[in-house]
Symmetry: C2
């Protein structure tokens, strides 16, 4: 079995057109994971840019995507010294399934922040808990959850839409912009702590890469601000092993109504 | 002089194609305001959708836009019972200047939130301050700033990238999704409190309409989480006069280096 680099590899077949073979391990019964798909889109965007980092990615999830062959088209919108923008579309069986606008840029790995909020508290890894069936996602990704945010597992949802976890791949892989794309959509829906259940389909997700992550575990902090009218937001901040904020996201999604 | 409705009016000239006449009052010397442009894009998206509300808007600001004639193209991407998605492009002088993905949907004006964070403190309007030259923007939009976030005006920046204000139009206009598009990008850049100066060009801005706003003033809370490597994020929450969270946004922008 190949690793994360192989699962997100894109093969150039024409100008701005890439073939991919999507790995069913990065998904669940309903669909492939949106973060995994954004990782694939980021690879294609970077392939067509002079810049190495996905600074801003806004993805609309039009239709579910299945494992297997797919195509990614990169349509240039602007090429600049500071920022390059492309429209990036993932199609499967001749149908566009995900459309994104991706801004690439070049971050300085040695930059010291001029200002940063502090990282919220998360227990050390050894005090965290695991969960999940023996499926592809948990075989690939090692998630250690803050037990204070996992009461919903035992029928005691906290009533606060928050989930926090430490994250790394189960293979040697130093965090980069591609893994950050996965990390911002790797948590279970935060509304599980609001007695919601089942799949919570993401409608739109925007994430920003803010710094080059250091090697080691990532800490992934997810929370919602408003659950109303069948919609909820989920904001994720990703912190690296040195305590630096490296990625931010917000998605808007539908509250799940089905059985999980 | 026409009002906000006239300044954001779109005239259908062909299928999915609208003519607009952009009003220079909603801008500054460098460019028209991004929120104003998103208000125009929202009108065009709604014109092509069965849904009345701009649930999610992700805009990439490719090039500056000037006052005067422009064209908006709406390219359908998905039409659904819950959500309709379109690519919406603003072009001027034959060149695409802004590209957005806009998801429209239908919010229930009577929905009671299942969960909401509370509104952060902002002083009452009579304790707030105004500022701004006698330009078009301040003639159109009435902003009353929390003095605790305006020290930068007197050379005493707070060191915290936060600005809060009450907002309304200087005309009778009940808040709606179009005004919310303007509101999420109406504040001066929060990095003015970090001794930055000058224009801070927005690269990408995503905003979500979360509820139908009540009549009256809006409260606009802006803050940044990380200023690093020449980039900063600005998150804005908009609350209506009943204390309900009605819009959320995050933009990624460049720290201004020029003179203001």
């Amino acid at each position: 079995m190949g690793g994360f680099a192989a699962a997100t590899a894109v093969l150039k077949v024409a100008d701005g057109c890439y073939a991919v073979d999507l790995d069913g391990d990065y998904g669940f019964e309903h669909a492939l994971n949106g973060g995994y798909l954004m990782a694939v889109l980021a690879r294609a965007a970077i392939g067509e840019s002079a810049h190495p980092h996905p600074i801003a990615t806004s993805a609309s999830f039009l239709r579910t995507v299945a494992a297997g062959p797919a195509e990614v088209r990169v349509e240039p919108r602007k090429s600049g010294r500071t920022a390059t923008v492309a429209r990036v579309i993932l199609a499967q069986e001749g149908q566009d399934r995900v459309e994104a606008l991706i801004t690439t840029g070049t971050l300085d790995g040695d930059a010291e922040p001029d200002y940063s909020v502090g990282q919220e508290k998360i227990p050390p890894i050894e005090e965290c808990v695991t969960f999940g069936a023996d499926n592809g996602f948990t075989r690939r990704i090692d998630l250690r959850y803050d037990p204070a945010t996992m009461g919903w597992l035992d029928g005691r949802p906290s009533g606060v839409p928050e989930i926090r976890a430490h994250l790394r791949l189960r293979e040697p892989y130093d965090p980069d912009g591609i893994l950050l794309a996965l990390a911002v959509d790797a948590l279970p829906p935060v509304v599980l702590n609001m007695s919601a259940s089942g799949w919570a389909p993401t409608v739109e997700l925007t994430w920003h890469m803010r710094a080059v992550p250091a090697p080691g575990w990532l800490a992934v902090h997810g929370r919602g601000r408003l659950v109303s009218d069948g919609w909820f937001d989920e904001e994720v901040e990703v912190w690296d092993s040195t305590g630096r904020l490296v990625a931010q996201s917000r998605q808007i999604a539908r509250v799940g109504r089905g059985r999980s």
